[in-house]
Symmetry: C2
Subunit: 209 residues, 2 copies
């Protein structure tokens, strides 16, 4: 790396303060001046490290989303792949290593999408969504139509991402939940069991209750 450790430091401080400011004010209202002041950096440092405000915004997402939910690998036992996929998603959602502002920033991006969302959909969401449909299809032995596979994959995704999107509501509804490793495990097993039962019912393998 050609960067000196001082320059690496400045870059890191800029990413942290930009994350805070973008999460609080949104891309439109955030100013490079405020970000630099918080970071104790010169405005020129933003141009040097990130090109412009847009480049800085994009870099903030790459920096914060250190762990991304990788799509489950193809092949192998589908229940094992389902469990691995749910665990990967829930681990990302409850990632303690993520900056505190990341969740707010992501929710903001969903409310007012910029081209960061478009590239996140193509690079993260679509491969995951398609791989989950593959897992679901294997679990039901190919017995669901394409639209039904989509609905089933969304039922699975919805159960997981609820813990991300509704975290502010959930903190008030269930203040005793802390989502430590043991609680996350319980939730992973719950979602796997619920999903297996849901899929079985969809393809009519079980009687009605």
């Amino acid at each position: 790396m050609a960067a000196t450790s001082e320059s690496t430091d400045t870059r890191q401080r800029l990413l942290e303060s930009a994350g805070e400011v973008f999460a609080a004010s949104g891309f439109e209202h955030a100013t490079v001046r405020e970000i630099c002041e918080r970071a104790g950096a010169n405005i020129a440092a933003v141009n040097y490290h990130f090109g412009d405000k847009q480049g800085l915004y994009r870099a903030v997402f790459d920096y914060a989303a250190s762990s991304k939910p990788l799509p489950p690998a193809a092949g192998g036992d589908p229940e094992t792949r389902l469990r691995a996929a749910v665990r990967a998603l829930m681990t990302c959602i409850f990632d303690r290593g993520q900056p505190a502002w990341y969740g707010r920033l992501m929710i903001r991006e969903l409310a007012e999408p910029t081209d960061v969302l478009v590239s996140m959909v193509e690079n993260v969401c679509r491969p995951l969504y398609e791989a989950l449909q593959g897992v679901v299809s294997d679990l039901v032995g190919g017995k669901l139509s394409k639209p039904a596979l989509g609905r089933a994959a969304r039922s699975l995704l919805g159960q997981c991402v609820y813990y991300h999107h509704a975290r502010a509501v959930l903190a008030r509804l269930e203040p005793k939940l802390h989502f430590d490793a043991e609680e996350v495990d319980q939730h992973v097993e719950h979602i796997v069991t619920f999903t297996l039962g849901g899929l079985a019912r969809l393809v009519g393998e079980t009687g009605r209750t």
Copy 2:
């Protein structure tokens, strides 16, 4: 009503322009001046109708959320109550009568909660969450612990509210979905079936696939 129709008109225009501006800029950055300019109203009209910016913000939510998901009534066949609850939630989510800015405003509120969220949790989310746990408990004949009922109610809620929170992602992943009445019906039936199967599996009524 004492209000003249001109005053009612002004109130309505203020609510619409406030919704747009709050959705675009957030509570903090939105200015009463901009809202009034868009509404073609005098700044004093905000004080007259809503007290202050905070009162206007609260009124915007009451105005936009014309249909709220009422908790399902107690008693009666639990599968019928489940279907009614899912239908009520999905109807709210795909409510064509809601202003276009409402979804963005709600997502913003989830990212940066104000006391509007707190009162929404207590008045809308908590009664619904508790009623859903009651329906789930009836569906499984009381065979789930309190924490397991909570997880199950969240699996049910998560499947529905995914269509609200992830709408920006979904519009890109599945551009052909339009959620007209027929598609909403398909999704309601899907979520009911998936949930019945999931619950049955949770209480071990069915064999493993």
